[in-house]
Amino acid sequence: MSKLLEVKDLSIAFDTYGGEVQAVRGVTFDLDEKETLAIVGESGSGKSVTAQSLMRLVPMPPGKFAGGSIVFNEEDLVEKSDKQMEGIRGKDISMIFQDPMTSLNPTMPIGKQISEGLIKHQNMSKKAAHNRGIELLKLVGIPNPERRIDQYPHEYSGGMRQRAMIAIALACNPKILIADEPTTALDVTIQAQILDLMRDVQEETGTAIILITHDLGVVANAANRVAVMYGGKIVETGNVNEIFYNPKHPYTWGLLSSMPKIDGDDEELLAIPGSPPDLADPPKGCPFAARCPYAMKVCENHMPEYTHLSETQQTACWLLDERAPDVEAPESAMVGGTKVHE
């Protein structure tokens, strides 16, 4: 089965006052049709830049591609001109953003914001686009769409705005929907609704989703596969079961440990001590070495290669080298409190 999207060795850097910041350093992943891939990491891990670069939305300059390729439909998006990209954005790949309060144009009615893409990509008439807009609003669960479509964003609540954002993104039946922290700015109850909506929509339209998040709880609910990013690199990928039940990277352990658990009544949430590396001066070796409780001398100076643990799971960690001491995942990193044995 051919891949819908293949990202290979993608590197993105920013020129700043303090020198060049290497936000994304050789990221490789792919996306199948109709699947949901979650990219997980804390702020500054490069996940949002990666997502935005797929649509070439990273402002350049100061940003620039420092290598790699993004192959979609057998064509490298890195090589495309801006004009060519306009034909892909919104039509083949579309995106929803973190904060629904600021990501809709305040001076334009919702309907017009939906129909813009339709008129551009599908040559629809204004009337047809308006009707399709009503359908889309109905699809994303906005009551009274005939009336709502002519309203402005400030007349919508936060959750409804995010629904409207999804309607905008889905307008032209894109093959890939990139959701950049789509639930972070919302109330917990609304978060679940939005995630459900995205899943329903995926079933209905068959679009593949790249979900960017820092919240493993969201991942468990929504994704098929997970890529864990740290310091501009993907440190571990696998399907949801592998990441949750058989994680091999100490950073993934840390993420899992810091997640609240349903049965862990009075258990303390474990923070990962320290802060992410300064990507203006990235570490030579593993980016997590400075915060890793199992770090070895080798970690400081050499970046580990990926170890293929299964068809789907790859982990970049020196602990998997045969010369390294055997280390077990800590108790706290076990989902549901029980270790799942292979």
């Binding site: 320290g274 802060s275 070495a289 080798v298």
Partner: protein, 307 residues
């Protein structure tokens, strides 16, 4: 796989220093140090400062080094073009324009600085009282300011200049009588905003007294926009003075300001354009200098604007 050559010893555990791990990358700098660093990078603003310093020095030594003073008439040498004797030429009464220009600099800078200073004092008192106490006090104080603000500034100044006896201080008073309102609004806005901010709450909950709060937290944090407004008040005052002088409402003779000099030169613009050129040039230069300093300070002092 081409693994690097590694020794077994490389796989020994690494001692991590917890403190090291918690240290935040990048040097932390204080607000003012940071602002100064950014300001220094702004070549235009530095140019502005150099210009103002030069103008300030020249306003004191310009007259003496020319060998002339600003009020001696010499009708035999009236309307002379710039020469070795009169570097900027002479005006219609034969007065040395070079000496008058620097004397005018003194007057213009003095008016600008005084107006800004008075605005600052009244504005800070009015604005910080209104902003700090809020509620009814604030409402009444700001209502007064609103009414005054509604009347065009220059119109008020002109009306005042009409009824008050002419003089340097009259001019300054006329300019500041509604000029402080802008400053008061800025100060109030700052204080209001800061009053509700979390770190004030934090330091209050830690038991900081009101005075300490005011001087340790509120004042330093409101300084940025106030300094910027102050800097931009100066060119505004200089402009107003020149404007009034142009209307014949400026400083009375024999005092010379750039405004009166330009106004005088206007009558004979067709024949002696140089008489207008010098005062006009220095008005523009001074306003430019203060404007670029103000802009530079705004960029440097407003952390939200950091790029």
């Amino acid at each position: 796989m081409a693994l690097p050559q590694l020794k077994d010893s490389d796989f020994e555990p690494l001692q991590i220093n917890d403190e090291e791990a918690e240290k935040i990358a990048g040097e932390s700098t204080s607000y003012w140090k940071d602002a100064w660093r950014r300001f220094r990078k702004n070549k235009l603003a530095l140019f502005g400062i150099v210009m103002i310093v030069l103008l300030g020095i020249m306003s004191f030594i310009g007259g003496p080094i020319s060998g002339h003073n600003y009020f001696d008439n010499d009708l035999l040498n009236a309307n002379k073009s710039p020469s070795g004797e009169h570097w900027f030429g002479t005006d219609n009464l034969g007065r040395d324009i070079f000496a008058r220009t620097w004397y005018g600099a003194k007057i213009s800078l003095f008016i600008g600085l005084m107006a800004a200073l008075i605005d600052l004092v009244i504005g800070i008192i009015w604005g910080s009282i209104a902003g700090y106490f809020g509620g009814k006090v604030d409402e009444y104080m700001m209502r007064v300011a609103d009414v005054l603000y509604g009347v065009p500034y220059l119109l008020v100044v002109i009306l005042l200049m009409v009824i008050l006896p002419q003089g340097l201080w009259t001019l300054i008073i006329a300019m500041t009588i509604t000029g402080w309102i802008n400053m008061a609004r800025i100060v109030r806005g700052q204080v209001m905003q800061l009053r509700s901010e979390e770190y004030v709450m934090a330091s209050r909950s830690l038991g900081a007294s009101n005075t300490r709060l005011l001087f340790k937290h509120l004042v330093p944090n409101t300084m940025g926009p106030i300094l910027v407004t102050l800097t931009l008040t100066i060119p505004n005052a200089i402009f107003t003075e020149a404007f009034l002088s142009f209307l014949g409402l400026g400083v009375p003779a024999p005092l010379a300001s750039w405004g009166t000099m330009s106004s005088d030169a206007l009558q004979s613009l067709q024949y002696y354009p140089f008489q207008l050129f010098f005062p006009a040039f220095f008005i523009c230069l001074t306003m430019l200098a203060f404007n670029v300093i103000g802009d530079g300070m705004r960029d440097a002092l407003d952390p939200k604007e950091r790029k």
